[in-house]
Point group: C2
Chain length 184, copies 2
């Protein structure tokens, strides 16, 4: 193992584990938790699929249905925390982000790459969350119109590693990601 | 499989999967996501251990360090959403709760039942989250003084099951948990 006091190595580990989630469907980072605040100020969390992670750009990418609750929440407060618990690395990764919402022509190239079998995730009639009289009283639209790309601009990354002794660090975009140790 | 349109059966399934998390350390519900809103209005999520789940009382129980960020957040806004993704049941469980914080004499009985090896999770000097000069510049206190019980009073439960066709329901305390179907 490398020097446990090396912040740069620790950040490398975090990004390595994150980027695996994009390529490897069995990696822990494939399914981050996506936490938002609802329009009435309530905490919300759900699982998403990680579709992109660029350390160079400091961004993560998630695809969703434009009619979903999380899009309503992001329009009210464009903040998300993405969280991954990576059991193999005993590493909790928390990314505080500001989110931009992209639809329509802007994401036509992304839509082309969505496999037919996956398009069903985008668009439902009526909208997701609508009250219905029985469990299956809805239609999936598989619609480009509802296909929505969330670009999450990373402002800070917190890493907490639960190997003994535990260690925790916070890295911030606005100080060039140098990082600082925190009490776990 | 039972009638997919039976709301009572669906809620039974949700509570069965939840309560397994208390007794079985390998159950998915052993480690829910605990989402809160920070004092500055930011979304936060982290993994916790489920220590109790009572359908009769409509409560979940989590133990934490009184110096942790989540306690600061809960003092500002006593709301938490607990989320479980149960792969075996293909079930996402989301519980919207109001949280009461218990410490000291009030939780002396609970503290007696915390194994010695687990007490290290409660209390750190300096407090969790404090900036420190290197990774291990802290002491764990294993202190009853910092041992904190969070009682999460469940106000609503959303179940989303990702077997085809998907189904989703919301159950609310204030209508006696009868439940209603929603578009997934």
């Amino acid at each position: 193992m490398s020097d446990p006091n090396n912040l740069a190595d620790f950040l490398d580990l975090g990004w390595q584990r994150l980027t695996r989630g994009v390529a490897d469907r069995h990696a822990a980072a494939r399914h981050p938790i996506f936490a938002t605040v609802s329009p009435t100020g309530q905490p919300e969390a759900r699982t998403v699929v990680l579709r992109g992670a660029s350390r160079a750009d400091g961004t993560l990418e998630v695809h969703t249905d434009g009619g979903s609750d999380k899009v309503k929440s992001l329009r009210a407060s464009p903040r998300a925390q993405l969280m991954v618990w990576d059991e193999k690395a005993k590493l909790q990764i928390r990314l505080s982000t500001s989110v931009t919402i992209h639809q329509g022509e802007d994401v036509a190239d992304r839509w082309k790459n969505v496999p037919d079998g996956s398009r069903i995730a985008y668009g439902a009639s009526p909208n997701p969350g609508t009250l219905i009289p029985n469990a299956h009283a809805y239609t999936k639209l598989a619609s480009r119109e509802w296909f929505t790309v969330l670009t999450c601009h990373v402002e800070s990354i917190e890493l907490m590693q639960l190997i003994d002794p535990h260690r925790r660090a916070v890295f911030k975009a606005n100080d060039g990601w140098v990082g600082e140790w925190r009490v776990p």
